[in-house]
């Protein structure tokens, strides 16, 4: 999907060597962009999934304690002095590389580092990440400083569940992805669910576009459209009927109150099922 805004943003991120921050509703394909970029560049994708409480040791590196303990035990039974083992157990084989360090220590072509849903991490982690992203080097006290040979391509995504700091925004290029318009979503459905007939695909997209304008608690994204299209194809549907929609609506609308509302709208004929 060569959307000019997306293409320009990726192009600039590569040329200017800056991280790209992508915001948009859930399910519009933010994560997908990173995957496609990695594929286009023929390089590895390293993904850091954020969550509240994510801290440096989970994101960067940790020592393999179980292995260290085992090693000390073995050394003891061999009668070695503990002093010898210190250098040994704090060496690279005992280091567990977490995504950020993996991206920095990566060999070969610079990888794509995807920091997914950065809005879920807390402010402290955001500050830490800023530091890592600004110099791409990490100091492990026991090992020394590890520096990236070439800067990884960094993509951050956010669902806007909280406002990110200005400092982070300033560092990044910015791309906002809205729900696609009818024509574009139809193209996506055709390409990703080739089993759907022309009629069905058009009806599906028309209905989804209408639902997005209705006031729902959880607005369906493109991924929901695709799930739904696939479900309908499995059921060998050629057209939408009220019964069929009723049975499969759960693929699209994932909130109980929304479901009730949409069902009522369909029964009352307020949501026409014909193609737009």
């Amino acid at each position: 999907m060569a959307d000019p805004a997306i293409a320009t943003s990726l192009h600039l991120a590569l040329e200017l060597h800056k991280p790209l921050l992508i915001e948009g509703h859930a399910g519009v394909g933010k994560t997908e962009i990173a995957k496609v970029l990695a594929r286009l560049l023929g390089t590895d994708l390293i993904r850091l999934q954020c969550y509240e409480g994510l801290d440096a040791s989970t994101a960067l590196y940790e020592w393999n304690y179980a292995r260290q303990l085992l090693h000390i035990r073995l050394q003891e039974s061999d009668g070695h002095a503990p002093a010898d083992s210190e250098a040994k157990i704090f060496s690279e084989p005992f280091l567990l590389k977490r995504p950020l360090l993996q991206a920095i220590a990566h060999e070969g072509r610079p990888p794509v580092l995807l920091v997914d849903e950065i809005d879920r991490s807390d402010e402290e982690f955001e500050a830490f990440l800023l530091e890592v992203l600004s110099d791409f080097q990490v100091t492990v006290p026991e090992l020394g400083t590890i520096r990236a040979r070439e800067r990884p391509h960094v993509i951050l995504t956010s669902n806007r569940s909280r406002e990110l700091s200005d400092a982070l925004r300033r560092r990044c290029l910015y791309l906002f992805i809205d729900h696609p318009p009818f024509e574009k979503e139809l193209t996506i459905v055709r390409r990703k669910v080739p089993g759907a007939t022309e009629d069905l695909a058009a009806q599906i997209v028309a209905l989804v576009q209408r639902l997005r304008r209705a006031k729902l608690a959880k607005v369906p994204g493109v991924s929901e459209t695709l799930d739904w299209a696939e479900a309908l194809v499995v059921l060998h549907a050629a057209h939408l009927t009220p019964e069929l929609v009723g049975e499969t609506l759960g693929c699209l609308v994932k909130d109980e109150a929304d479901l009730r509302k949409v069902r009522a709208d369909i029964e009352a004929g307020r949501l026409p099922l014909g193609a737009a």
């Binding site: 200017l16 915001e23 409480g53 801290d55 304690y65 406002e163 300033r170 990044c172 791309l175």
Partner: protein, 370 residues
């Protein structure tokens, strides 16, 4: 690259800055570097490239579009599909039009140097002050009362989070530390415990008419929690809703209040609670999750449709951990929540409490942080 293009870009950057966006010199340099990477004969490419570098949040898209149209007249080709249309901020009205808050800010500047905070007695030592309704204080007392409110807020305790801190006793073994020490003396276990977690609070405050004063106290009170035990997002409304979190973040106290009076142009007027909450749910609903406490301060005098208010309250209640409705009128013994608005909202409220004096603010603790 043509000198004209560079000049236009610099003009654009300066214009964006004057419109309140953060555009640093580094941004301007990046913008010019970016132009070198795209086909400059394509107006759309130039537009997209500059937008990508200079815009940092969807709310700024419209401002950018405007400024771009001016700097690169004739206007850019039709809408680019993915740009979002967000209501443009209306120009702030003359600050003189909001006398109450401006004067408050002025007072703050003249009166308090902030250093004598220690001289203010603890809230518990002043029962009379603690029980007194905010609206009955004289203008000269407000600054002092505000300081007490902030101190109460800062004393409030914190909750555990998923982050860890080393501890002599905790319940989880800190393997990293244990291994470090094991080299010297085996099996001296180090423990860790959860670090305090910050609660998320979303405050939506009515600033129409008589609610103005109470809202200011609540916002200030919550502001003191900001960054210590809670993450606070603040909104005010009377006829329209406005996010004021960034205004409240201004480091300098008096400037912050001035900023607020400039930002909130309808600081006194009619109330449309239902519509304001509807705007909130539409534009900001995403920031409310199961750990968020939503605090609404209003007297419930809604001039809009009560069924809309009910529906929006239901949605808020479903998304959040708790909805706390603060009604300063509850502080008076003979108040009955009989207005249509209040009646529509109450079924979806977990906590209905007053917020008319310091004691009431202090009592908020258990509703907010538990």
């Amino acid at each position: 690259m043509t000198a004209d293009l560079v000049r236009r870009t610099v003009v654009l950057c300066r214009d964006l800055r004057s419109r309140g966006m953060t555009v640093t010199t580094a941004h301007a340099i990046d913008a010019i570097r970016a132009l070198r990477c795209v086909r400059m004969e394509s107006r759309e490419r130039v537009y997209l490239a500059l937008r990508c570098v200079l815009v940092a949040r969807p709310e700024e898209m419209e401002i950018f579009d405007d400024a771009f149209a001016v700097a690169f007249s004739p206007p850019p080709p039709g809408a680019v599909e993915n740009s979002v249309r967000v209501q443009r901020r209306s120009a702030p009205r003359d600050p003189a039009a909001v006398p109450s808050l401006s004067s408050w800010a002025k007072q703050e500047e003249e009166g308090g140097d902030g250093e004598d905070a220690e001289a203010v007695p603890a809230a518990s030592d002043m029962p009379a002050v603690v029980q007194k309704d905010f609206s009955t204080f004289g203008a000269d007392e407000l600054a002092d009362i505000q300081r007490i409110a902030s101190r109460i807020a800062r004393r409030l305790a914190a909750r555990p989070s998923r982050r860890w801190a080393s501890d002599r006793r905790g319940r989880r073994i800190d393997l990293r530390r244990t291994m470090r020490r094991a080299l010297a003396e085996p099996l001296d276990l180090c423990f860790r415990r959860r670090k305090p977690r910050k609660t998320r609070i979303v405050a939506i405050c009515d600033v129409s008419g008589s609610m103005d004063l109470y809202s200011r106290f609540l916002l200030q009170f919550l502001y003191a929690l900001q960054g210590t035990v809670a993450r606070v997002e603040s909104f005010v409304f009377s006829t329209v809703l406005r996010r004021v979190t960034d205004v409240l973040r201004q480091p300098d106290y008096a400037r912050m209040l001035r900023g607020l009076s400039a930002e909130v142009h309808d600081w006194s007027g009619g109330t449309r609670i239902g519509e304001s909450l509807s705007t909130f749910n539409r534009d900001w609903g995403r920031i409310v999750d199961r750990r968020t406490v939503v605090v609404i301060l209003s007297d419930g005098w809604d001039t809009g449709d009560p069924s809309l208010l009910g529906a929006e309250m239901e949605m808020l209640q479903r998304r959040s951990r708790r909805v706390v409705w603060l009604n300063p009128l509850l502080g008076s013994a003979d108040y009955q929540p009989l207005t249509q608005g209040m009646q529509a909202a109450l079924p979806h409220v977990s906590v209905f409490a007053p917020a008319h004096n310091l004691a009431a603010l202090r009592a908020l603790e258990r509703h907010l942080l538990s």
